[in-house]
Amino acid sequence: MILLNTLLIALNGALLYSLVGFVIFAVIAAAFYYFRAQKLKNEFGVMEEPKKDFSFTFWILLAITGFAIYLIKVGLEGGVGMLNTLFFAAFPYVAFAIFIIGSIYRYRNTGFKVSSLSSQFLEGKKLFWGSQPFHWGLLVIFFGHLIAFLFPKSLIAWNGEPIRLLILEISSFVFALSALYGLCILIYRRLSTKRIIMVTNKMDMMVYVVLLTQITSGMGIALFARWGSTWFASSMTPYLRSVFAFNPDIAAVTAMPWFVQIHIISAFFIIAIIPFTRFMHFLVAPIDYIWRNYQLVLWNYNRKIIRNSTRHTFGKEIKNH
């Protein structure tokens, strides 16, 4: 414990900055040598098609994220420089600026690429098992946060009765678990299915790592900093409102436990990377599909040919009519 304490104090201040600098340098250098090695490999003709495998990228990204989280934690707890101001007063605006400008830019230039890049056509079963719990869980959790942000008083009133507080917290936790469960299936699907690997890119791995961080830190809050539903309404909503009022008041978030801070930073990070990832699809979600009428598809069959067909296998009735 003493050793750990000394280490934390030693990491403080200038030393931490030099460490961050070294890590950034190491990452850039590693990337440089990696790409040069690849280039050489291509030039001196290894003829076979390079095997695509994203597990490595995924685990490396996860490790880097873990390390970054640790650095941010130590930095914020040690009160290094202006880190708090940087992350909670400046970063939100950077994130929103990138989100808005980037989204408009991407939509105007490559509008047809703005989609979820669906791969249901290539693999449907695992997608169904993963996508359903993931999206339902995430949607409910998202609207839960939105309600606490928009109507904090109602939420506090609802949580006034302890039994209602328990119901709200446990059911929210169920949806978080549901999202995590679905996400794990989706990650497994993308890393293991050959057809899906062919349409995967590195940014997808980023999406998974960021979502994992966001969901697990949120569940950490639910378990180790309960009861988040009430204190979000009472202490986080004022912060978020102050951000939207262009007068950020960071005193309360500064005093929060580190995983709460990570949850906030990671949320703004997600907003920032929306334009560069498949997250974009939530902006163009075909919501009118929910209430639009059935589209009748009329097949121009020639009944006589069907009747006299010599085909030996019978077609199956379409399931989702």
Partner: protein, 295 residues
């Protein structure tokens, strides 16, 4: 290049973006003192939760005070003699760190604190101190019960603040596990006493709590009842089981049972959804005997 363009514009936004206001006027000192210090420190020589601050500017250097206010425990851990002595004198109750206050704000606060009473008023001060004996406050059972309802949230605060339970835990009878965001309050009354508890409740010095009760300060009655309740909790803490971990089991147990039910609902609702592409059967038929292509 396109990304650079986007980043450049964003950086512009950042630079133009608002930052925390650093300009502090001297007259803010009083307000800052009330918001951050007054719940534990008096400006006289009398002790509340922490020591009275009268004459502190003469007693300690400004630099020492700024360092102390920004992070008291850092100084204690670093072995500063005066810091350790204070820490020991006050039963090792740590003072809140006010790292978010700027140097200018701390100086404004210090300028409010009066100097030590002079020699001519010394005798007068001594008389005043004698005339104020500590009278133990009597709480009735009704007060404690009302305090309990307030703590749980069953009875709303008049100005609508959140219940204490959201962030604090107490082990008392069948009250559900309280929050873990802030300190366990089971024995808080034993450590801080009537004055300490009621002053913290009425003007919270902790930033997250201050935000939660901004413009929603508790009434004097509510403060009184909560103090009564916390006193009862402290007195009975020896006979009560520790329920702080119960919430964790409820969350995990309820969570997994709920997850099973929820998955059942989803999968049952969408059971008849087509999970493969329409031509999957044809595709499979074509691949018969050619396994290398199939995934």
């Amino acid at each position: 290049m396109r990304i650079l363009k986007v980043l450049g514009i964003s950086a512009g936004f950042m630079l133009a973006g608002p930052f925390v206001n650093q300009n502090v006027m001297a007259q803010d000192g009083e307000a800052l003192y009330k918001a951050n210090c007054a719940s534990c420190h008096k400006t006289t020589s009398k002790r509340l939760v922490g020591p009275g601050l009268e004459g502190i500017n003469e007693k300690r250097s400004e630099e020492w005070l700024i360092n102390w206010i920004k992070d008291p425990m850092k100084m204690v851990n670093a072995g500063d003699k005066e810091a350790v002595a204070i820490f020991e004198e006050y039963n090792q109750i740590p003072m809140t760190a006010f790292g978010f206050l700027s140097d200018a704000e701390i100086k404004a606060i210090l300028s409010v604190i009066p100097g030590k009473a002079g020699a001519e008023s010394g005798a007068e001060g001594a008389v005043a101190a004698v005339e104020e004996p500590e009278v133990p406050i009597e709480y009735t059972e009704e007060d404690a019960l009302a305090g309990r309802l307030l703590f749980e949230g069953k009875k709303k605060f008049v100005k609508g603040g959140p219940s204490c339970l959201s962030c604090h835990h107490v082990s008392f009878d069948d009250i559900i596990s309280g929050g873990l965001l802030a300190k366990d309050l089971t024995n808080v009354h034993g450590r801080l006493g009537d004055a300490g508890v009621s002053s913290i409740v009425s003007a919270p010095p902790f930033p997250a709590m201050a935000d939660a009760y901004k413009n929603k300060t508790l009434t004097d009655d509510e403060v009184f009842q909560l103090t009564a309740f916390l006193k009862t909790v402290n007195e009975n803490s020896g006979t009560q089981a520790d329920t702080s971990q119960l919430g964790m089991f409820q969350m995990i147990g309820g969570g997994f049972i709920g997850l099973l039910l929820w998955l059942l609902i989803i999968y049952a609702t969408y059971n008849n959804r087509k999970k493969e592409s329409v031509k999957e059967d044809i595709f499979k038929r074509q691949l018969k005997g050619n396994d290398s292509v199939n995934s």
